[in-house]
């Protein structure tokens, strides 16, 4: 389809028409917007960001304030007009905790991805470009880390911290999650290094770091971006799972995962469905939104997917 459009544009241009040829950026936006779900997800995420940033000012109640007149005999109070998402067994406003908890999820999602992409890109690029024993060393290290059962490994690492912060959790998730990115980047580099422009760069005496990061890396950026968007939701899920199992964010700090840990007991003993329903719903919606955006980006960035 795009070939046809461009040909038509070219014809117009030759005739002296003022129609401009769409720039790559315009084309990108046109393709991305075609994915209505991805677009809607983007808006949802923008709202979520606003909520997370403004959290201290917009929570209706102090998220850590207990109120035992609400939660009588340790029974969570159900949703009401004052507390739309109810309270927990200590009378803490569940919506306020949910709002504050969004910060943990987003921090972990982005930071863990940043670490994984950073480490993975550098190691993958070096391995793919240098080859030989450097390549072997890095790839064997990746093999070893891939042999670990990821969840168990993370739990074992986190046991070493009394109260791991979102930052610590994110870094640990990132540090053991770079292997797939490095494989991807290495694969790209294996073909890129033999291309003419790489040989030309080497011929004019460009240094190795300059070849790797200035000449080759920009050509491998699309798959990296897609991998990044898809790794954010994975990191969010991982953090919430860890916190749910009691190895992540420790109460009283609120995170969506440890809110569900409370829900485990409260839903069984006090039939307080709202305690488990809302945090899980928001994890699911956030992860879904990131997945849709990732999918939209892939279609918009990957030339192989354009024809479909």
């Amino acid at each position: 389809m795009s070939v046809e459009v461009q040909r038509a544009d070219l014809a117009n241009w030759e005739r002296g028409s003022t129609t401009t040829v769409a720039s790559p950026r315009t084309l990108f936006w046109r393709r991305f917007r075609r994915h209505r779900l991805a677009f809607a997800s983007g808006i949802f995420l923008a709202l979520l960001f606003a909520v997370a940033i403004l959290a201290p000012w917009i929570t209706p109640y102090d998220p850590d304030a207990t109120n035992l007149t609400l939660a009588k005999f340790g029974r969570p109070a159900g949703p009401s007009i004052e507390h739309p998402m109810g309270t927990d067994q200590l009378g803490r406003d569940w919506m306020s905790r949910l709002i504050v908890g969004s910060r943990v999820s987003l921090t972990v999602g982005f930071l863990a991805t940043g670490v994984a992409i950073g480490v993975g890109t550098v190691l993958g690029a070096v391995a793919g470009y240098a080859g030989r024993w450097t390549d072997m060393l890095i790839m064997r290290l990746a093999d070893m880390l891939l042999a670990f059962p990821p969840l168990l490994f993370l739990m074992g690492m986190l046991v070493g911290f009394k109260r791991p912060s979102a930052t610590v959790i994110a870094i640990i998730i990132g540090v053991i999650g770079w292997m797939n990115v490095s494989r991807l980047v290495r694969g790209e580099f294996l073909t890129l290094r033999t291309r003419d422009f790489a040989i030309a760069a080497r011929a004019i005496g460009a240094s190795k770091p300059s070849i790797i990061f200035r000449h080759l890396l920009p050509n491998a950026i699309s798959p990296i971006i897609v991998a990044a968007t898809l790794s954010i939701p994975a990191a969010i899920l991982t953090e919430s799972t860890l916190s749910f199992l009691g190895f992540g964010i420790q109460p009283p700090t609120a995170s969506w995962g440890n809110m569900l840990q409370i829900a485990f007991v409260q839903m069984r003993d006090n039939q307080a469905w709202w305690i488990g329903f809302y945090p899980g719903l928001f994890i699911a919606l956030t992860v879904l939104a990131f997945n849709f955006v990732g999918d939209g980006l892939r279609d918009a960035l990957d030339p192989r997917a354009w024809g479909r």
Binding site: D143, M144, L146, A147, F148, P149, P150, L151, L152, F153, M155, G156, M157, V159, G160, K162, P233, L237, S240, T241, F244, L245, G246, F247, L260, A263, F264, M267, R268, Q271, W273, G276, F277, P279, G280, L281, I283, A284, L285, V287, L288, N291, F292, D295, R308
Partner: protein
């Protein structure tokens, strides 16, 4: 081929050694030790433990020696096939694992089988009817399926179907009392399987279906599929024999990976449904600093993962004769 397999198997040894060293070091730097956990337990049961008692226990468990010596001691034992004694349950680790592993395998096995049985046909339908209503519905289901946290799904199923309506048992693998007869037992145990299996399978189906669809789409426009149609074969034969079989090549390598997901998923699901398997054991052992058990679980899972990847690589060569190992 044989040489390749042998080489891969030999390569597993240094990998596992590396895994065990990292894991050992990781656990040793964690605050608290098994004695601390025992102390808390004895306090709960109203007994007191003197400082001398604690010191004696540490000595007995070898916790006062340098970490690298502790590691070497552990390694020597493992080389003889002995994983030590669980500090939490005071039983040989191998005995505990022999009780727990089959339970996890049953859960993961049923889930894996169900995943394949559902995901493959749906993936084929989705690809054959690309861009139809059913394809859109299935693709959307995929996204939702991979986005729902497994433990949330488990909790919701547990609450609505067990606590609220009471259709399914709340936890465990068996009821405390079951009526006589084979069928009563079968029905009881089947009911215990339903919710954990659903929780694990949903994500598996969503993920696997996606790959099946993609690889079918890859194969459908190939020349040999067109040839098969041109020969006048029925659509059914074209799709199932010519297209589907070839589409399996890339996704068969995912089997090992799916197995890992199933085992990982069982960690969460077992803890929700109190399923007496490896996942529950892992979490309990980690919180109680039961090092020998944790080490054994990590080593066992790492071996499983390595064998899983090796098997899928071998399968790759079996289904695709073009693949040759150097």
């Amino acid at each position: 081929m044989t040489a390749y397999i042998v080489r891969r198997l030999l390569w597993m040894l240094p990998l596992l050694l590396g895994v065990s060293i990292i894991c050992f070091a990781m656990l040793k730097r964690a605050p608290g030790d098994p004695v601390g956990a025992m102390l808390a337990e004895s306090r709960d049961s109203g007994k007191t433990m003197t400082l001398a008692d604690r010191e004696r226990l540490r000595e007995q468990l070898g916790l006062n020696r340098p970490v690298y010596l502790q590691y070497i001691d552990w390694l020597k034992l493992v080389a003889r096939g002995d994983f030590g004694t669980s500090t939490r349950m005071n039983q040989p680790v191998s005995t505990i694992i022999r009780q727990r592993l089959p339970n996890t395998m049953k859960l993961a096995g049923v889930s894996l089988l169900l995943t394949l049985l559902i995901a493959i046909p749906l993936g084929i339908i989705s690809a054959v009817k690309q861009y139809s209503l059913i394809d859109y519905l299935l693709t959307t289901f995929n996204f939702v399926g991979i986005s729902i946290p497994q433990f949330w799904l488990g909790l919701m199923l547990l609450y609505f179907l067990s606590v609220k309506i009471g259709w399914f048992p709340v936890n465990g693998m068996h009821s405390a009392y079951v009526g006589p007869g084979f069928w009563a037992h079968f029905k009881d145990s089947a009911l215990h399987y339903v919710l954990p299996v659903i929780s694990i399978t949903l994500a598996g189906v969503a993920g696997y279906m996606r790959y099946q669809r993609a690889s079918m789409l890859e194969v459908m426009p190939q020349d040999y599929v067109r040839t098969a149609r041109a020969k006048g074969l029925t659509e059914r034969v074209v799709i199932l024999k010519h297209a589907w079989r070839n589409s399996l090549i890339p996704i068969i390598t995912l089997l090992g990976y799916v197995l890992v997901i199933m085992v990982e998923g069982s960690v969460v699901v077992e803890n929700i449904f109190s399923w007496p398997g490896m996942g529950q054991l892992a979490v309990a052992s980690l919180t109680q600093r039961d090092y020998p058990t944790v080490m054994a679980i990590v080593l066992l899972s790492a071996t499983l993962i390595l064998i899983g990847t090796l098997l899928s690589d071998i399968l790759y060569a079996v289904v695709d004769p073009r693949v040759r190992f150097d």
